[in-house]
Symmetry: C2
Subunit: 226 residues, 2 copies
DNA sequence: TTCATAGTTTGATATTAATCGAACTATTCT
DNA sequence: AGAATAGTTCGATTAATATCAAACTATGAA
């Protein structure tokens, strides 16, 4: 069967522990260098190099040279979405579930998914936008309403400029921890960027976990309920 | 990292060509015996047997004994959704795309996704339900409106009984061919069952392709636009 | 009971691919 | 230019696993 070979190719890329760890690290959204990824995966740089070459060749990862560094990142939002989905399946129906560690609660609460907010907080945020009519989840992925455009423009996000980019403004992504959606796309990324810059959340070192500062939590709640 | 090992486990299950072909075959929704799957994957029965054991052990596939046969099926709708997502990534960003064969157009048009309708037809159907207010895509996956309940009850689907089952009535699933959603869940399955029984579509032999009969196409269009 | 079919288990083989040290290229810093 | 750092390529080794033939178990049919 043709369909089989296609998914096998991707599966085998994801199926190696070293590569899987690299991909998981890249879910954090920031581009990482080859050596950082080697460390993350627990392998030497030569091995990391071959793995990265395979990931790039397979289209899951893209690389950008910058001086003597090479920054690796997930190729695409859709790759991030796929990895989230796989994590979701692993979380629900793994036979011998990895026992939920202390970090798991925080991960479920708020985390990075590529470059936007995921977890309870991300799901709550999208829900609030939908409730207030800013985002409509009808047909084709998701759409920003006129009211939403105004709201986010007031908030300081340049929707106009964003809508001229190739990347879609609104996209949604299935959350593995909760089985709901959160907001991705250009808008999702811009909002998270704002949250980081305003100091609402801080990224935990070497992890995808996002921690709200006390003041940030209040601001965020206001942002959702005003 | 913990997250990595989880996804690696699933990845490696999907990553073997023989297993991937089996999974692809099981996307057709009908449970298949070990020998049928061996044939599908192009391996002997002992090999198939070990592969199937791994898939079951990994939680991706479940098995039901029936006399001297063992019927294998995907464990869960979420597994089917994951496979669709992987296919989607393979389709969009594969470096050397497998050239689209003659079957691909038909696949994109209408196909089985586990036990419900996918492809252009599936996407159009969900879109129509949303437009007419039968299904609301707000928060948590998707919800059936009162009007929708009446509509489907008139259509001959016992929503009342369905809502008491464990399986959610409405769920949506990302379509790999079109990048939109189609309807899954108990309702999605029931509608397809109706379509099959009423002879609107016929399943192509040994494939996921669904072909509309001329009359069936008319009925279906009516169903969407009445 | 006997035969046939469905499927698994065992054991041996072969292939694949992950791994690392060492050598090599390229870029930056002094 | 020379030294240091980032990263890749090469070659050899090792570990994992897919594969099948043959033997075995279980169910159904004659």
């Amino acid at each position: 069967m043709k369909a089989g070979t296609d998914i096998a190719q991707i599966g085998s890329l994801v199926g190696d522990p070293a590569r899987a760890n690299m991909l998981a690290a890249l879910m954090g959204g920031t581009a990482l260098t080859a050596s950082e990824l080697a460390l993350e995966a627990g392998v030497t740089s030569p091995t990391a190099s071959t793995h990265l070459a395979k990931l790039v060749d397979g289209g899951l990862v893209r690389v950008k040279r910058q001086g003597r560094h090479r920054y690796y990142a997930l190729a695409d939002e859709s790759v991030a979405g796929m990895l989230e989905t796989i994590m979701g399946v692993a979380a629900t129906l793994g036979p011998k579930r990895v026992l939920p560690g202390p970090g798991d609660k925080a991960l479920r609460e708020a985390r990075l998914c590529y470059d936007h907010l995921a977890g309870e907080a991300g799901v709550a945020m999208l829900e609030s936008f939908v409730d207030r009519g800013f985002v409509r989840l009808d047909r084709e992925t998701a759409a920003l309403s006129p009211a939403g455009s105004r709201f986010f423009a007031d908030f300081g996000i340049d929707i106009e400029a964003m809508s001229h980019k190739r990347r879609p403004v609104c996209r949604i992504c299935l959350d593995w921890s909760v089985r709901r959606w959160h907001l991705a796309g250009g808008l999702g990324a811009a909002i998270l960027e704002h949250m980081m810059r305003a100091g609402w959340v801080r990224r935990e070192k070497d992890s995808r976990i996002l921690r709200f500062t006390p003041a940030g939590r209040r601001e965020f709640d206001l942002f959702l309920h005003q």
